[in-house]
């Protein structure tokens, strides 16, 4: 039916195509770091990276903004709360707030906090320099820890916004793994 040279050519072609398929399989995984890098470079989606401090800070002293602080846990036996439920600030002024977590269980647990902001697009105006959400938090049994968040809300915040909410939710990291790189 098919001569020997044909079979040889066919097998070569099969080999090439299989290798190509394998490369595409790896490419699927390579999209993950590529996506992360792309988001980092373009500044999309960098909730868990510190922002760069700007030298001159223009503080809009005429304006007051209420920052409500919210804390939640999902699926891990921690108590998590802000030490003050809200702060009144001027746009442009650096603010420090404290949160406290307590591990109520008798095992060591790794947790990761994920921020959520309201209103929509607040992340454009919110610059965070220090946050416990930048790294995973490891709490020994019954340990309590106080952690600061340092941020600035930029004066470009649309004037109709008077109240903003910064919320954190702690999730347990399965098996102590964290995909977040320092």
């Amino acid at each position: 039916m098919v001569s020997n040279t044909d079979t040889k050519a066919n097998n070569l072609m099969k080999k090439k195509l299989l290798i190509f398929a394998l490369i595409m399989f790896v490419f699927g995984f390579a999209l993950v770091p590529f996506y992360e890098k792309f988001c980092e470079v373009t500044g999309v989606n960098n909730l868990l990276q510190p922002d760069i401090r700007v030298k001159e800070n223009r503080v809009d002293e005429a304006r007051w903004i209420t920052v409500e602080l919210d804390a939640n846990t999902r699926g891990l036996p921690w108590q998590f709360k802000p030490l003050q439920s809200s702060v009144k600030i001027h746009p442009g002024e650096p603010v420090d707030v404290m949160y406290e977590i307590t591990n109520n269980s008798d095992r060591e647990i790794n947790g990761q906090a994920i921020p959520s902001y309201s209103p929509r697009n607040l992340e454009k105006y919110l610059k965070k320099f220090e946050c416990f959400c930048f790294t995973k938090q490891v709490l020994k049994p019954n340990e309590t820890r106080q952690m600061p968040v340092q941020f600035v809300i930029e004066p470009d915040l649309p004037p109709e916004i008077h109240t903003v909410t910064i919320s954190y939710t702690f999730f347990e990291l399965p098996g102590g793994a964290s995909a977040i790189r320092k």
Binding site: L18, M24, G28, F29, V32, Q112, P174
Partner: protein
Amino acid sequence: MAAVHGDAHSHGHDDHHPSGIMRWVTTTNHKDIGTMYLWFSFTMFLVGGFLAMGIRAELYQPGIQILEPELFNQFTTLHGLIMVFGAIMPAFVGFANWQVPMMIGAPDMAFARMNNWSFWLLPVAATLLVSSFFVPGGAAAGGWTFYPPLSVQGGLGVDLMIFSVHILGASSIMGSINIITTILNMRAPGMTLMKMPMFVWTWLITAYLLVLVMPVLAGTVTMLLTDRHFGTSFFNAAGGGDPVLFQHVFWFFGHPEVYIMILPAFGIVSEIIPTFSRKPLFGYSSMVYATASIAILSCVVWAHHMFTAGMPTVGQLFFMYATMLIAVPTGVKVFNWTATMWQGSMTFETPMLFSIGFIFLFVLGGFSGVICAIVPIDIQVQDTYYVIAHFHYVLVSGALFALFAGAYYWIPKWSGRMYNETLGKWHFWLSMFFFNLTFFVQHFLGLAGMPRRIPDYNLQFADFNMISSIGAFGFGLTQLLFLYIMISCIRSGEKAPQKPWDGATTLEWTHLPSPAPYHSFEKPPVVN
């Protein structure tokens, strides 16, 4: 099934193959395997159709009557998965198995044993998929696109779906390697690339797309699997992953996938229109280039499925313009088909009717696609019935109508018998009527804001939904007529001459008797 080849035996020169069931299990003959692909995909079409009937029965009236919301979600999810991976894709592979070797003058597919493997993986995958309805927690219910977090949270059904997709992917990759090698290495002397029939061209390009994107899908579901069971956090926000990443990787596969389902349909229609217009295909080489450009463009438009997922404006603009650009090569194709018919001596047998129906309705689906590509409109119609109407116009009246057209066109060559022309025409007109009854009104439902994947709806949508459901039941029943036409053709149809369509010019009509012998072109024909 065996009846398909009942007559082939008398023509076979040396076909010493086992009989009974073992013939089908062990066969390496491209015609046997093509037949099995086609029957398998038709069976899955009926299963997916049954699910669609369930969905439309629930949506016949507002309120919850037949399906609990959980089960409704399983129905919509599995309807999509089964129709895409179980019905449409294997059907086109079945056509490729039958037609590619005969149309290029090759004796069989390049890797006959692997061909057998690629088919027999399918029933395994289908069993996994369908049996997931009966495991605790039921089948996957997060939509056929299985977005996380739902697909990370779901039960055993999601795992079965993941394995099923792995197996289907492996089958598709093997099938495409086979098709590419056959087309590139085994053409008859004189059959240069630019002399190949359009169906072969479209399949060559489709097979390359499959090898390009199916492995990416395999990688995606693997990541999903490790997120579910091995503590990774690719898509799990709590572990630093990103569910939006899944959507990007999925649609990197998913958009070329929709062209994988439509390019071979273009190929079938490009064979049928010239035959029944009794003119050569207008603009053959532009057709080839248009197919290739569609395939290349299809790889850079994926994020138009995600305009509402959060994306910089620059990104939205890029994906919007790239998507609209696809209308250009598609327009070239539609122009060429129309120009082929222009001043041709046309006759309207069933394959031609389905092909013209294809052009007409596919263009409607294409236009609603261009509308969906416009970002502000897409944000409005995202996840509404407008999108449902759009992709059923390209997949049902596009891919499926082309499959029907191809089945009527080639069944005389495959079985050696003619189908009943009157019943075939009935099948076409009933399909045409009920299809539009089902899906045209869904445009209005979507524009009015009815969301997809919800078992209940506001009272204002009641009338259009009832019309749509009646259309769906009619469309479903009509397809049983197709089954009857095919079976009675294979069993007791009139004997078909070698070339029942006088405008046909491809090798299977000019060089092979009807039915095509079990082993054809052992000595390659010479093409000039």
